[in-house]
Amino acid sequence: MQMVFPAWFGVLLSTSLLVGGGATSLRDHPMVPSFERFFTERGADLVAGGRLLLAELNCVACHKSEDQSLKSKAAPVLTDVGGRVKRSYLRQFLADPQGVKNGTTMPDLLAGLPPAERAEKVEALFHFLASTGTPRTERPERKWIGAGRDLYHQVGCLACHETRDAAGNIAAVLPTSVPIATSKYTLGSLRAFLENPLAVRPSGRMPGLLNSKEAQQVANYLLQGEALGAPAYNMSYAYYEGEWDKLPDFARLKPKATGQTADFDLSVARRSHNMALKFDGFLKIAKEGQYKFWLTSDDGSKLWIGGKLVVNNDGVHAPTTVTGAVFLSKGMHPLTAAVFNAGGGVELAIDIQGQGLGRQSVAPFVYLSDQGETVRPATAKHDGESLEIQPALAAKGREYFATLGCANCHELKENGKTIASKLMAQPLGKLAPAGGCLAEAVKSGLPKYPLSAAQRAALQSAVRGPAAAASDAKSAIARSLLTFNCYACHERDKVGGPEEARNKSFTTAQPEMGDEARIPPSLNGVGAKLRPEYLRKILHQGAHDRPYMHTRMPGFGEANVGHLVRLFVDVDHLEPAPKVVFEESPAKVKAAGRHLVGAQAFACYKCHTFNGQKAEGVQGIDMTLMPVRLQRDWFIHYVLDPNRFRPGTRMPTAWPKGEVTLPNILGGKAINQIEGIWLYLSDGPKAQIPVGMKPSAILLQPIGEAIIYRAFIQGAGPRGIGVGFPERVNLAFDANNLSLAMIWQGAFIDASRHWTGRGEGFEPPLGDNILHLPQGVNFAVLAKPDDPWPAKSARELGYRFRGYKLTPDQRPTFLYEVHGVRVADTPNGIAGKEAPIIRRALELEGAADNLYFRAAVGDTIEALGDGWYRVGEWKMRLAVDGEPRLRSAGGRWELLVPVRFESGRARIVQEYHW
C-alpha cells in the first residue's frame, strides 16, 4: 500500500534525521504528537493546531468554555496515587515537572514563587499525595524481559513512543515521541496501568493494548533496571540463531552473541524464536553422592555435567519436564545447559535434589569459574522509598491541592468524594491572546507551560480565532483522528499513516506479504466496510484480527471514541451490491459456497485461516471472521476487485474483470457465487471446514516393490533417501554424508508433510524400532590405525555421490566414490524369522591404502563369534575379508573393518538384527 504524505512531510523527515543523541532537547515542551507532526511547519492551520492544544493541555479545565468540540484530555486520576507512584518520583516531579519528565503536559503551578515558599508547597503536596497509599516494590523477573521487549517493539507502542534498547533504555527519540516516565512506576503499578490505562488516564490518549500477562512482560522489560539486589553473573552464555527442530551441534555453529549472565537468564537472547542458548558454568558440589536433576523446557533442552549428558529433553514441545541422575564427587563440575526454541513460548528451569538438598533451583550453586567466582553487574541503585507521612503537612497539601489548581485537572477521590477546586480563571472566550499562561514571561502564581514557539503561536491564534470549529462530520472525524493520534498508524483522506521514521517499526510475521502485512489498513471508506457494531467494538476494546500483522488495534474506550461510529457511517458510502435471489435452497447455496472456497475451486484456505485452522501459505485474515467484521456490500465489491480497495494487494480475484471461471455453480453468476460464499461463512464457527483444508496422512505403503522417498527426513538430513521395502522394513540413506542413517520396522513414512502445503520441515519415520546408525561417514582412510574417525562430512572429504540403480522391483543400490574407490552399497530388506532385517552388501572397486569401514559405534560392542556382534541393545553379523578391529573412542566403542582389496575388488556384508 502506498502511503500518501502531505507536502510538509519532507520537512518533518529532515528534522527527524537530526535526532541522534540529543534526545531530550526535542521534548523541552509539552508533547502532543499530532501537534508536533501536523502543526509545527510554516503554513500550518494555526487555529486548528491551537484548538488541538486547548484540548490536549486541558485549558478548559480552568478557562470554562461552552464549545463541545474542545473535548478535553483529562489529567491522570490521582485517587490512591500514593500507592502507584514511587515517592522519590512524586517529590521530584512536583518540584520540577518538565525537568523530571521531558515533554510532560503538566504545567509548573509553582513557577516564580520564592524558593522557600515553593519548597514548602511541594513538600506539603508531596505528603498529601503520598498519604493516599504505599507503593510496593517488587524485583523484576528476568524471564519476562525478552517477551516484554518483543511486545514493546512490535504491538504498536512505537507508534507513539520511542525505541528502546535491550536494557529498556531509550534508544532513539523522534520529535513526535510521547515520553514514558519509567522511574515513576513500581513493577506492580506499571503492570496495572498497562493492563488498563483507561482507569488512570480515562481520556484514551493512552489506549489499552495488552492483556494481563503481556502487561507483566512489558512492565518487566521497561523496569528491568530496578536494582533490588540484581543477581550476580554466575555463568557465561552463547546465543545462536537458526531454524531447528532439535538442539543443534554447537561445535559447528558460531554464536551470535556471548557474555556473562545470571541464573540461566533467557532474556539475553535477541529474539525468542528460532534461537538457541547455551549456558556454561561450574556446579559446586559440597557432598559427594547421587543427585537428581529436573530439566523443564520449551522447546528442547539438554543438561551436561562434567561433559556427560545427564538429562535429555530435546525436540519441539510445550513445557515438559524430564529427569536424570548422576553421581558427583565433592568439588566443582563443569555444567552446560542448552535450550532452543523454534517458536511460541520459551522456558528453561533446572532443579537439583540430593545429599541433603531438597529440590530447588540449581542456579545458586553455579559459578563462573571453577574458583567459585561471580561478577556483580554494574547496577546498584536504590530508591529510599521509606517515608514517614506527616499528617499536618499532608493536610496542608490537601488544601493546596484544591487552591493551587491541581484539582481543576486531576480527579482525586477521598472516601468516594472528589476534592473540588477552589480556583477559577477567566472563561476561555474572555482571554487575551498574549497574556496569562500564554505570555512570554508567565507571572508568578500562574501555571507555567514551557510552550514551544509553535505551540504558543497556535494557542494564541485559537484564543483569538473563530469561536467554534467546523461542525460537519468529515471535519469531526479528522479532529478525532488527530486527538487520538490514529494517524500514527492509519491513513485517511491522504493524511497520516506511519511517519517515515517510524515506518520500520511496523513489522509482520509474514514479510512475504509485503507492506500490507505490516502497515495498518487505510481508514478510507471504513464506515462502509466494517459493520457498525464491530467498528464500535474495536474502537472500544481494540482488536488483533490480522494474525500476520504485529501491530494491534488498541482500545480507546467507548466514551472517548464511540462517537466515531456514527460519523464514519454518515460519511462513508459504497454503492450497494445487487440483491441475490437464489433458486437453490439455502443449504445448497451454503454447500456451493463451501465448495467455492475449497480445494476443487478457489482454495481460499491456502492463504486464509478458517476458524483457527492454519492456512497453507500466508496466514490471511480468518474467513469465519469476515461476516462478523464486514458489511456484505463491501465484501462483494472487495473480492471482485481487491485492488480497488487495497492497491497492490496480494489478494487475487477469482472473477477477473467480473468473469466467471466456474460456470456450473450457482447459475454461473459472480454475484451469486460471492453471496453463496458470504452465506456459508456467515455460519461462523458452525460452518464446516472447507473441503481439502485439513491435510490427511499420505501413507506410502510398499506393496510388491520398494518405494523411494527423497525428502527432508528427520535423522537422515535434507538429502535423505528413504526406502520402504515390501518386507515391512525401511531405511534412510543420507546422500550428503553417504551413510546409512537409520533403519526401522513397520510402517514406512507419511508423505503429507511434504506433499501438502509448501512442504515445510523434516519428517521422521512412521514405523517402530528406529535404529539410528553412527553419524558421520561410513568409510575413511586412517593413516595410522589409531587416528580418530574423521568428523568431517563426506562433502568436505571430497567423497562423491553417484546416484543409485534400481532392480525391477525398485530396490536401490547406492553408488558413491570414496578416495577414488567406487562403492556399490545395497542395503536390502529381508523377511526374518522374528522380525525383518536389513542385509547390506557393499561392493568396492578400485584401491586405497588404509581404507576402513566403520561397521558400528556403541556404548558397548561385544564380539559373539562367527561374525556376530552385540552392539548395545541390538545384534549384527559381519562377513568381511579383513579382521575387524574394536577400539574405544571418546568413551564409546567403534568396530572398524579394514578394507582388503583383491584384484581391485572388496566386499563387505553386514546384517542388522534389531
Partner: protein
C-alpha cells in the same frame, strides 16, 4: 460532505460476459485450450516438461515422479497414454531430454540423469550429474532447471533460503551444469525463481518473483558475471570463484530504497530486469519460459517468449530487443483460463504449447490442484500488438493485422502512463514516480501494420503502460488485448 466511492459497475455486466457474446472475439477463437485427463491416482503437480522423440512428453512432478505421455500430440487428448517412468525424486522442477537417451531432471539437491537400461519402461539408473550446491531443509530452497542450451549445458537457478537470505551454499545463484557435469555458478542476485529458458538466440533468461529487491515479478537475463538484484547471495563469491574464476570480486552492495536503474549505473555487474511484469496487472507469480521457434505454426509471434504465471493461471507474451547492449522489452496478456497455476511451459515439436500446473502452497485462479494442458493455434490471426520497440522519443508498435487508419492515427486511441518500482530490501514495492506523458504524435507506417508514437516524454527506468482502447483493425475490430507494458531501462539514442 459526503464521500462516495466511485467504481465501475462490474456486477451488472458479469453475467453478460460469462455468456460470451458471439461477436466479441475471445482468446479461445485463436488459441484453443486442450485439457488432458490424468490417470486416476496420479497427482501430477507439474514442475518440468520436455519432449522425447516421437511426440512423447516427459512430465516431472513436485511429488518426485516422472510421467511419460505417449501420443501427447494426438488431436484427441483422450488418445494420450500416461505411464509412470520414475518415482522417488525430490521435487522435480526441471526436465530435459538429452539426445543420447538420458532424461535429465533437476531435483532440489542435485541434477540427475535417468535411463531405462532394461527396456521395461521404468528408469533403473539414476546418476547424479552434479550436486554442486547445497540445501538445508528449508522448503523455500528450490532448484529450477532448464532444458539443454545450444552448448549442451543445463541452467539452474537456486531459490534463496526463505524470502530474504542465503543460508546454504550458492542459494541465490544461477549457473550451469556443463556437459562434463561441472557446476559453474555464473550469476548472483537470484531471489525466488519461477523458471529458466532461452530466447531465439539461445541467451538464458529466468523469471524472478516480487519480494525483497524485486518490486514486482520480472524476466531477467542470466549473464556470466552478472548480478540480478538480491545481494544476500554475495556471501558465496569466494566459493563461486573457485568454480568460475571469471567472476571476480562481489559487486558493490545496492542501496535500499533506490531505483534499479540508479543502482545499475553505480554497480556495473547489475543487469537490470529485462521485462517487469506489473504486479496484479501481468500476473503475480512469474514462472516457466519457452520461446516460439515453431516458424509460424503457433501463429504470428515467432521468436517471442511465452511466460507462465502461477497465481493468475495465465500465459503472458514477451517481446525482447537489445538497447545499449542490454535486453529489454514489452510484455502483453496472451491467454488466461488455465485450470491451475502455471509453472512449466514447453513448446511441442508441432508448435503447440504445453503448460503444467500446480497450486499447492500458493493459491491460483485456476481451480484445479494440478493440470496438464495444451494451447493450439486455430490458424486464425488475432488482432494484437505484435512488437513494441523503444525509440528515443517514443515507441514503434507493430500489429498482427492491417490497421484502420483513422483510429490508429488518432492520439486519443492511446493512453500512456509510466511508473517504476522501489528497489529495496523490503518485500515488493508499490508503483512509484508515476508520470503521464502526452502522446504528441502518431504516424501510421506505410505497411499499415505499425504506428510510430512520439511522446512527451520517455522516462528512463520506467515501465510504460500503453493502453490502446481506440485502435481498430481495417475490418473494424478492436485489439484482443488492449494493453502493453514496456520496461524502458535504457532509452535508445536518436
Amino acid at each position: 460532505m459526503r464521500t462516495c466511492i466511485i467504481s465501475t459497475i462490474i456486477l451488472a455486466t458479469s453475467s453478460v460476459v460469462a455468456a460470451q457474446s458471439a461477436k466479441t472475439p475471445s482468446e479461445e477463437d485463436y488459441y484453443k485450450l486442450v485439457r488432458y485427463e490424468l490417470p486416476p491416482g496420479a497427482v501430477m503437480e507439474c514442475g518440468g516438461l520436455d519432449f522425447l522423440p516421437g511426440g512423447r512428453l516427459a512430465v516431472g512432478t513436485r511429488r518426485g515422479e516422472i510421467w511419460i505421455v505417449d501420443n501427447a500430440l494426438a488431436a484427441d487428448p483422450k488418445q494420450a497414454k500416461f505411464s509412470r517412468f520414475a518415482h522417488g525424486l525430490h521435487e522435480v522442477l526441471g526436465v530435459a531430454y538429452h539426445k543420447d537417451g538420458w532424461l535429465y531432471v533437476t531435483q532440489r539437491g542435485e541434477l540427475t540423469r535417468l535411463k531405462d537400461t532394461d527396456g521395461d519402461g521404468k528408469a533403473d539408473l539414476f546418476e547424479t550429474v552434479s550436486d554442486g550446491w547445497e540445501i538445508n531443509g528449508d522448503y523455500h530452497e528450490y532448484a529450477l532447471g532448464s532444458r539443454f542450451d545450444k552448448d549442451g549445458n543445463i541452467w539452474i537457478t537456486l531459490c534463496l533460503t526463505g524470502s530474504f537470505t542465503s543460508n546454504s551454499k550458492f542459494r541465490g545463484w544461477g549457473g550451469k551444469v556443463t556437459p562434463e557435469g561441472k557446476w559453474v555458478p555464473t550469476t548472483s542476485g537470484v531471489r525466488s525463481p519461477g523458471g529458466v529458458g532461452f530466447n531465439a538466440d539461445g541467451d538464458v533468461f529466468y523469471t524472478d518473483n516480487q519480494g525483497p529487491w524485486n518490486g514486482t515479478c520480472g524476466l531477467k537475463h542470466l549473464v556470466n558475471g552478472g548480478f540480478v538484484g538480491h545481494p544476500d547471495s554475495f556471501k558465496w563469491y569466494a566459493e563461486a570463484n573457485k568454480l568460475n574464476p571469471t567472476l571476480g570480486p562481489a559487486p558493490a552492495k545496492p542501496m535500499s530504497n533506490s531505483r534499479m536503474m540508479i543502482e545499475a549505473k553505480r554497480i556495473p555487474q547489475l543487469v537490470p530486469t529485462a521485462v517487469m511484469f506489473p504486479y496484479g496487472k501481468m500476473g503475480q507469480s512469474a514462472a516457466g519460459i519457452d520461446c516460439d521457434l515453431s516458424g509460424g505454426r503457433f501463429g504470428p509471434f515467432a521468436k517471442q517468449l511465452f511466460v507462465g504465471d502461477q497465481t493468475h493461471s495465465t500465459i503472458m507474451r514477451v517481446f525482447l530487443e537489445k538497447v545499449h547492449g542490454r535486453y529489454q522489452g514489452a510484455c502483453f496478456p496472451f491467454r488466461q483460463g488455465f485450470s491451475c497455476g502455471i509453472v512449466p511451459v514447453c513448446f511441442a515439436p508441432d508448435g503447440s504449447l504445453f503448460a503444467g500446473g500446480t497450486n499447492r502452497g500458493w493459491g491460483s485462479r485456476g481451480t484445479k490442484p494440478y493440470s496438464l494442458e495444451r494451447l493450439v493455434w486455430t490458424g486464425k490471426v488475432p488482432f494484437e500488438v505484435h512488437e513494441m520497440r523503444a525509440k528515443h522519443d517514443g515507441f514503434e508498435v507493430t500489429f498482427t493485422r492491417e490497421l484502420d487508419l483513422a483510429t490508429a492515427a488518432d492520439p486519443k486511441s492511446y493512453k500512456l502512463q509510466t511508473y517504476t518500482y522501489i528497489y529495496r530490501a523490503d518485500y515488493g514495492s508499490p508503483e512509484v514516480d508515476a508520470t503521464t506523458p502526452t502522446i504528441a504524435g502518431v504516424e501510421v507506417g506505410a505497411d499499415r501494420k505499425s504506428v510510430r508514437l512520439r511522446i512527451q516524454r520517455v522516462q528512463e527506468g520506467h515501465i510504460h503502460e500503453l493502453h490502446l482502447p481506440g485502435v481498430r483493425s481495417v475490418d473494424g475490430q478492436g485489439l484482443l488485448h488492449k494493453e502493453a507494458y514496456y520496461t524502458m531501462n535504457y532509452v535508445p539514442a536518436p
